[in-house]
Amino acid sequence: MRPYTDQTGPAASPSSGDAVPDRTGPAVVERPQGTDRRRVWRSRRYRWDTKYSPYAFVAPFFVFFAAFGVFPLLYTGWSSLHRVSLSAPNDLEWVGLHNYTRLLGDEFFWNALRNTFTIGIISTVPQLLMALGIAHLLNYRLRASGFFRVAILTPYATSVAAATLVFVLLFGRDYGMINWALDAVGFGKVDWQSGTLSSQVAVSTIVIWRWTGYNALIYLAAMQAVPNDLYESAALDGATRWQQFVHVTIPSLRPTILFTVVVSTIGATQLFGEPLLFGGAGGQKGGASHQFQTLGLYLYEQGWFNFHLGRASAIAWAMFLILLIVAGVYLLIARRLRKSE
């Protein structure tokens, strides 16, 4: 900041101001004219600067975004109307809507859609409820609150791959720790990977483990922004802790809750790494009978194992469409909630 406060002249930069007179040395006699021209040039440069520099500032983002965001998005749509093979990815053969009509009759597509939906529910609902509870507890005055906050965030630092590899062992049928514990308390062992519900619960557990702490911190931040007078007047009215939570905390957190629901939904539609690695070798199938194959995995299988990039593109656009529908539903719910207030 300092350079501006003690700068007296309108010089754009001190160094150029000093250097210019040296260069125009012989013309010193005609100084008035020279400074005039310089002033004109400077004010023009100043005008250009204010006019065009905003575009220069947003340009890098939009250039990259156009090249790696918009173009691929549209081109995915274009290639979904073609037959494209992975072995010759740049030969497009027009087939019209065939890839889409094919999807409608494809039992594996509907299976993947169903799995994505159920895994999305099993992973998101308990995750956000737990996060809400944990955030509420962290909002009390606590000893070692800093430690708790860092500790519950460590799963967020663990990658999908690393987390899934550990959970594959923990969920192991014969020697996994979870089955050992279940056996020890008399429940008997579960073949986590082969069952439909059990495998989806296992995959969801990985998601829940990685994201609950993160969401708890987001809720905690929102809770700390709730003015304390609200709680005090509720307490004066004789509200118990639970009633304060339901009638003060939850309503104040509504926008944050909606935000986390939207983000988790986007994450759930894209679910890929967890089911892929949970399946081990040949994981793109999502289990022997595709019992935990998600849309992301099905796209990967169609494109990179069955070599049908056109079909993969159609699945990608179908996913996008589903996301838009879900977003529309959320928007309606949000509007309804706001009206009811």
Binding site: A12, P54, F62, G69, L137, G146, Q270, G296, L299, M319
Partner: protein, 303 residues
């Protein structure tokens, strides 16, 4: 300007605490001024153990051998094979190169995202130009688009340019982020006084000088937060790297994906690889945990 938002947010609590001793006469202690009871601690400790246990057990399993992992009960304490397994993972799963590659990729992406997001965020927050609102709307709309939608054309492009197995194939597509632009805009709207920018303009400062001497210092806390979040996300990015790279020149996640899909059959070596790939970020969490937590919570209120 250097006053961090986090500190500002906490300040109002101080006077309240000092006033508190007067209040118990009324008997009103509510909300966040209530102390947590034993049950609160019990639940939090259980949850913390659940959060940390899989990581600790990764290290335990990495310090055993394959035979021990195929017995019941599973091991609960460390064995003596940790360094041998780490070494095997380092050489057989190409983890050394993977770590180096990931550091380069995540570092470049974090730098690029922070720089470009700050520039664009500043323009959207404080400058006037045509199409500003339309362009901002475009930024917000694209935050929702899932990466799956661009994978096929990106793959075609990479194949055409023969970039398979080259780092720019995973760096360039993620070098900018719509979330970053939005995040920086939201921050700068509040944190950077418009008068400061105008005063500098009147003094004849060029845009570049304004960026360097006014915007960057004002944006520094948010830049740090965005940098950390982007680095973690880039380090852990999975879908596109798995498609664009192979075991010959992998990132950590690609190497781990190959480990998980049967590249090395030894479970304890797989766990050693998982440990190696997670360790750098865990170390960062031990060192900067407080700042990262603060950053995420700050970002949540702003976003």
């Amino acid at each position: 300007m250097k006053a961090m938002k986090a500190k500002k947010a906490k300040k109002p609590m101080r006077p309240m605490r000092q006033v508190q001793p007067m209040k118990p006469a009324l008997g009103v202690r509510a909300g966040r001024h209530l102390h947590g009871g034993p049950l609160t601690y019990a639940v939090l400790i259980i949850f913390t153990v659940g959060s940390l246990f899989p990581l600790v057990w990764t290290a335990i399993a990495a310090s055993r051998n394959n035979t021990r992992l195929s017995q019941t009960p599973p091991p609960f304490w460390f064995g003596g094979n940790l360094f041998k397994n780490l070494q095997t993972a380092w050489t057989d799963a190409n983890m050394g190169l993977a770590l180096l590659n990931t550091a380069v990729v995540a570092g470049t992406i974090a730098l690029g995202t922070v720089l470009f997001s700050t520039l664009a965020g500043f323009a959207f927050a404080k400058l006037r130009f045509r199409f500003k609102n339309v362009l901002m709307l475009l930024v917000v709309a694209t935050m929702m688009v899932p990466p799956q939608l661009s994978v096929v054309p990106l793959f075609m492009t990479v194949a055409e340019l023969q970039w398979t197995d080259q780092l720019q194939a995973v760096i360039l597509p993620t070098l900018v982020s719509a979330f970053g632009v939005f995040f920086m805009r939201q921050y700068l709207v509040q944190a950077l006084p418009s008068e400061l920018v105008e005063a500098a303009r009147v003094d004849g400062a060029s845009s570049l000088r304004i960026i360097w001497h006014i915007v960057f210092p004002a944006a520094r806390p948010a830049m740090a937060v965005l940098g950390m979040l982007t680095f973690v996300a880039a380090w852990n990015d999975f879908f596109w790297p798995v498609i664009a790279l192979t075991q010959d020149n992998p990132t950590v996640q690609v190497a781990l994906a190959n480990l998980g899909q049967g590249f090395v059959p030894d479970q304890s070596v797989i766990m050693a690889g998982a440990l190696l790939g997670t360790l750098p970020l865990l170390l960062a969490f031990v060192l900067f945990g407080k700042q990262i937590v603060g950053g995420i919570m700050q970002g949540a209120v702003k976003g």
